[in-house]
Amino acid sequence: MNDTNHHIISYTKLTSVWLTLLALTGLTIWVSGLDLGVNRVWGALAIASLKSGLVIAFFMHMKYEDKLLRWLLFVALLTLAIFIGFTFFDVLYR
């Protein structure tokens, strides 16, 4: 509704985000080689979430957007989490 989303993100900032993303990619590959058992899934997911957080915040400008958008994203992710989670009331206890 106002001018907040006219924020211009500098090339340097974008590039450093990109470098971080590459580093995190390396990290997942390394972690997947470790012997963590089930935790490997959660570890991989945690890193993936971190990466997507970066993409959303900087590449997709979410950091500089209205609060509203952040809420919407949150609602959608929550909905998806519920869809998946509630299915497990069936899958886990069958």
Partner: protein, 200 residues
């Protein structure tokens, strides 16, 4: 009038984000199935994942991340009033998309060569979870590939609009939204990569 324009721009961003959320949930359906079947067939998923080529997956991740960077820079370029740079960056993004699809093609081809594709004899005869794993793999990467294709086409359109001067530093909804779509494609791959290529 200018007030009207501003409204439109925020509205366009809002609308685009809402659309991205639906795309997220669309893939969410496949991730739901992935979660359920992973819980049921952890071992088959593990051995299936080992058959996927981590190098292809990792290279593709890097390609997509780079393409995303270029798309984000293209937005910055237009905002700074440098349309020519922006077009070059967009072409870079599209180039990355093509590389990605090329690698995907090689990868799928290799799988087909090993008699791995939905309802191939090997999968029908093999252990049950394996067929499920590969079907999910083909469906997810296939749907994702389709999105790469759509995204690249969209960015192509946007590049043309930039060229025509219809996108500039004041009026860049098209470019921003095209880039948003592209980032979404990247975002989904960020999850596909570890879930299919790396886990177990």
């Amino acid at each position: 009038m200018s007030e009207q324009l501003h409204r439109d721009k925020s509205g366009a961003t809002l609308g685009m984000w809402l659309f991205l959320l639906t795309e997220l949930i669309l893939f969410g359906g496949l991730f739901l199935l992935y979660a359920v079947y992973l819980a049921r067939y952890p071992h088959e998923f593990a051995s299936g994942g080992k058959e996927l080529n981590v190098v292809f997956g990792a290279v593709n991740t890097v390609v997509l991340l780079t393409s995303s960077l270029l798309a984000a820079m293209a937005v910055t370029a237009v905002q700074r009033g440098a349309p020519r740079t922006s077009i070059r960056l967009l072409l870079g993004t599209i180039g990355c998309a093509l590389i990605f699809l090329g690698i995907k093609y090689v990868e799928w081809n290799e799988k087909f060569g090993h008699d791995i594709y939905p309802s191939s004899q090997r999968l029908i005869k093999g252990p049950q979870g394996e067929s499920v794993f590969f079907s999910l793999y083909f469906l997810t990467t296939g749907l994702h590939g389709l999105h790469v294709l759509i995204g690249a086409t969209l960015l192509g359109f946007v590049a043309v609009r930039v060229q025509q001067g219809r996108v500039d530093s004041n009026n860049n909804s098209w470019l921003e939204n095209g880039a948003l779509y592209w980032h979404l494609v990247d975002l989904i791959w960020i999850f596909i990569f570890p879930l299919y290529y790396l886990i177990l």
